[in-house]
Amino acid sequence: MRKKLLLAAAAAATLAAFSFGTLSAQDEQVFTVGISNSFVGSEWRTQMIQEIENVAAELSDDPELGVDIELVIESEDTDAAGQEQQIQNLVNRGVDAIIVNPGDAEALRLSLEDAAAAGVVVISVDQEIDGEGVVNVVIDQAEWARISARWLAEKLGGEGDIVLIEGFVGHPANTARMTGVEEVLAEYPGINVVGRESGMWDQATGQQVMSDFLASIPNIDGVWTQDGMASGVLQAIVTAAPEEFPLVTGEARASYVRLWESVLADNPDFTGIGVVNPPGIGASGLRVAVNLLLGNTIDEEQLAGPYGNTLYVPIPWVLLSEDFNYVNMDGEESLLPANFDEVLEEVAELPDSYTLDGILTAEEAAAYFVPAS
């Protein structure tokens, strides 16, 4: 890690020396950015940190930007007290910015407010925090869930029995997602929810729950589930091999894309959806942080969310094998194109655990800020 950073810095310095710009290596602004992550037992989080490292190197390499980003990564399985200590250690080190994926958003609020008050740029990714001086960079989890719920309801023609397999009950992201699902389903009185169970965001648990549903409920027409469990759910259906496959909302992961392809061999009509929940949100957060560190001002009109301090990052894209005309709650239509074959090719070289991703570009990040006059 450290070595990689030094190389990145050296490369940036070399480029700067040869570029036409006026910046030399001495003029580079060095920013120390702390990362605080409280959960390592998930490939999603690993990818989140890797993408942050990639974007940090990319930004440091950019001669136009003239910054050198040094990362301090605090990542371990820990509870709220442990993450509070991570944050304090980062502040005591004198970092310029902190990007945090909070395990318990409410328990970290006071410590992050203290950090912001001490002049540290504080960005919360993946979860919103109601903290003074904190900027949240997240996707809209409710909207994320509405897309696949709408797809399922439309595909079923507004009729049928479905089961819901949700993540951790009580987790804010799960609560937001299930609210989104309920909002959509309320528009389809012909759809009956005949079972609802937690799959704990775990493939094995998801598989078990789906097996139990298949054994106990006859004729399930559809399954709404989330990422982290959908491969297990589909596996359970493949194993049970019912005469008619229920429709399943999938997940945007390499493993699922491959599983989907293997199901197609026996069921050419099989289709699904995978809405991308990008691990690159951490790297998007870094882009926002660097803008703030460079002294740019956030365009107040872009701030939204329950606490008025959130920048919503658009859901990057959706995995589909057939075009889908998505209509959101406001009645706005958008055509989501089929891309399954291309994605299948793209993930061929990638590990099963890879999550389909999306990161804000420099231009997209800059769009959240007041243009320099």
């Binding site: 007290a81 442990g82 502040v91 080190r93």
Partner: protein
Amino acid sequence: MTTISAPKTRSPIGRTFSRNPFLLSLILLIIMIVINRALQDNMLEIGPLNGTLRTMMPAIFLAIGQTFVVIAGGVDLSVGSILSMTNAILAVMITQEATADQALVAILVALAAGLGAGALNGFGVTVLRLQPIVTTYATSFIFAGIALRILPEPGGRLPRDLTSFYRNPLQLSESFAIPLSLILITLLVIFWLVLSRTRFKQFLFATGGNADAAYTTGVRVSRVKFTTYLLSALFATLGALALTLGTGTGNPRAGELMTLPSVVAVVLGGTRLAGGQGNIIGSIIGVLILGLIGNIISFGDLDSWVRPLVDALIIIAALAIPGVIGLVRRLNQ
């Protein structure tokens, strides 16, 4: 002819160490502080010191309560759940608009619930005569369940005056401030020193050392054991109070990962896991050592995965030291 060497007269230093096993931990702590200070310039400045000690307070309370139970020959695997439960009660009852009276009532309710939990443990161990490890493991699920019932998801928000008072250093004069947690730790040490002069302490050690012998000499073993579970639950509740004031909110799973570290801190502090010997000052030191390991790993730029490894090595070392000392002694004779 054989010569039997007379038992070695131990030096005064050796005696001091064997009477106060926590002195070894104290040396380890001092080493930790020196390393941490070398890596982190501002470690002993008021702000960072206040923050570091504050985050350790819940663990310190848990370890102190655990010490009583361990000295009496038991173990309490429900302390984390009791902390979760009372944290949930405090977070639900102390709302942002709460008055001082309402906050006081909430604390009394939390204490009552905590003591009730301790009484249930004590009942299982002393009346039903169940194994402490099984009893408290089982009750931990009851208390964790109650926590989730009271507060299904993390939340609640305390008045800012209250959290600010607890979180910030205590300003004693214009130019002098001291971390509130340092005052609390001092009070806890004084509490132990006073307790050491009472008969309860003798009963406690006798119960853990040899319960049958203690019983025949008139120690009410069951009553002493019961009291240790009450004390353990009481301190877990105080830990919850520290956590609630520190974070300003509640989490029904707050204590989930805190039970085992409390046992580890007790062992690190020189308290014998088999009972009959121990000291809460050592347990406080144990918590500080565990906390500083995290800081050293962080400031030493070591990968975070090193931490469980280092924790494990230190625990094994702490468990092994008495054995090694005994072995050396036998070899010398």
